[in-house]
């Protein structure tokens, strides 16, 4: 089982921040960053490894392909069962929260700014704890 953390946001400063936090929280050492949903989608679809699992920190307000567009796209593919999404957005609207959880891969809704303690909380959740260990497990999975 390989676990990858992806960061999708159109703002390079946000990517910088999130990358720092993910690394600092003792989680995955190499989060992969994308400045658009198109690039992220492309990456996932071309990677045909059935053993891979993806944890995506997904922004909503992006040009060309919004977070909603990304989710609409990915659920049409079987690879979506390998995907876990945390929506990370500046919106605190209840309606946006409801909309996010309507997508099967979405398990979290985080209002920016992301920080280390939030990530620590997430790491303790069952479905996400696996992402917070190193990709190479000594036991040899």
């Amino acid at each position: 089982m390989k676990f990858e953390v992806l960061i999708v946001d159109d703002d390079p400063i946000v990517i910088l921040l999130h990358e720092k936090m993910v690394t600092a929280s003792g989680s995955h050492s190499n989060p992969i960053c994308f400045s658009s949903g198109i690039l992220a989608l492309d990456y996932i679809l071309t990677n045909k490894d059935p053993d891979k699992k993806y944890f995506i920190l997904l922004d909503i307000n992006m040009p060309e392909m919004s977070g909603w567009d990304f989710l609409d796209e990915i659920i049409d593919y079987p690879v979506s069962s390998q995907v876990v999404v945390a929506v990370v957005t500046s919106s605190t609207n209840e309606s946006d929260k409801r909309r996010a959880f309507n997508y099967k891969p979405v398990t979290e809704y985080i209002a920016k700014p992301l920080n280390v303690s939030i990530l620590h909380q997430l790491s303790r959740k069952r479905e996400l704890s696996a992402f917070f260990i190193h990709a190479e497990d000594p036991a040899g999975y």
Partner: protein
């Protein structure tokens, strides 16, 4: 026979002295308190009637007076005595004419040769009562007519089958620009726009569970000037002189609809602003918080720290720009409100 104790004021217009004495006797037989006034001819009668200002309870009239008779006498008497019943005392020869006179405003006729004290009395009492009832009915009809004609909102009546206007009130004339005569020469189609149904709730059977044929809807009507107005029409079906007609109350709601449209536009602009607030404004703020968190809690080199502080300032500026945009938009809304004077 006990006399009627109520007091009465009776005018007898009779030129034959013998007939007059007979009639007075009959009256005094039946009425305990009666004031009998006598006129020998029409002119005398006219003077007395004008003087007493219709204080007479009843007027007994002989058809053949020296200075006026027949149809012209009846006509003049009808005009003079609006509130007082007039009973003709006539001979056999004039029966047909007497019957005709009933339709000209005369209350009753009695055959001189056939009357007696009681029959005279009975006729007088009956006709006084009937006149009273008729006057009340007239007043009631006038009141309803006033309600229609003096209503501040346009009202009209049109025949259901032909759509022809049967009557319009003053407010309708003022509102639509057509004179009453012009209206009465038109049908409803001439004021309806060709695309007239804006919104209709035909409520023939469902309006409060009534089956009275009332309905309500919003229609577009055209004034004489060509201007279109939106009208809230309430109608009721009534029978008027045997025909099925609709009574319409038509309230001009054009202004009101315009206000609603303006308010709806304002609302959607406000919603736009609210959306901007919740989605766009928070973004630079959240970024600032994230940057400050990193500077504070994570080990960063001095060069990194300087770079991060630059980003903090940029975000603050971004935030400022958004705030100014929102302020600008709300100021525009205020201008719009002022223009429409809501």
């Amino acid at each position: 026979m006990t006399k009627d104790i109520k007091s009465y004021n009776i005018l007898v217009i009779e030129d034959n002295p013998g007939d007059f004495i007979l009639i007075s006797d009959y009256l005094e037989e039946q009425f305990a308190t009666v004031q009998i006034d006598h006129a020998n001819n029409f002119n005398e009668a006219r003077t007395k009637i004008s003087l007493h200002d219709s204080n007479f309870d009843v007027i007994l009239l002989d058809l053949s007076l020296p200075d006026k008779s027949g149809e012209s006498l009846i006509a003049e008497m009808s005009i003079l005595c609006r509130r007082c019943p007039v009973i003709i005392l006539t001979g056999f020869a004039d029966i047909e004419f007497s019957i005709k006179s009933l339709s000209q405003g005369i209350a009753d006729y009695l055959l001189k040769d056939d009357i007696n004290a009681f029959s005279l009395y009975k006729s007088i009492i009956y006709n006084i009562e009937r006149k009273k009832t008729n006057l009340e009915l007239e007043e009631s009809e006038k009141r309803y007519s006033d309600i229609f004609h003096l209503s501040p909102q346009p009202m009209w009546i049109y025949e259901v089958e032909s759509l022809a206007f049967l009557d319009v009130n003053t407010a309708a004339v003022a509102s639509y620009g057509y004179s009453r005569d012009e209206f009465l020469a038109m049908t409803l189609n001439e004021i309806l726009s060709t695309n007239h149904l804006v919104d209709t709730k035909e409520t023939e059977f469902f309006y409060s569970g009534r089956t009275d044929g009332s309905s309500q809807g919003i229609y577009s009507y055209r004034k004489k000037s060509g201007d279109m107005i939106q009208v809230n029409v309430q109608s009721n079906v009534i029978t008027h002189k045997g025909k099925k007609v609709k009574l319409i109350l038509a309230i001009d709601i054009t202004e009101r609809l315009n206000y609603i449209r303006t308010i709806e536009m304002q609302n959607s602009k406000l919603q736009e602003i609210a959306w901007i607030q919740s989605h766009l404004v928070r973004a630079p703020l959240a970024k600032m918080m994230g940057l400050i968190d990193v500077i504070k809690n994570h080990s960063v080199s001095d060069m990194e720290k300087t770079e991060l502080l630059v980003h903090v300032l940029d975000s603050a500026h971004e935030f400022d720009v958004l705030i100014k945009d929102i302020v600008g938009r709300t100021e525009d809304l205020q201008i719009n409100l002022n223009e429409h004077e809501i």
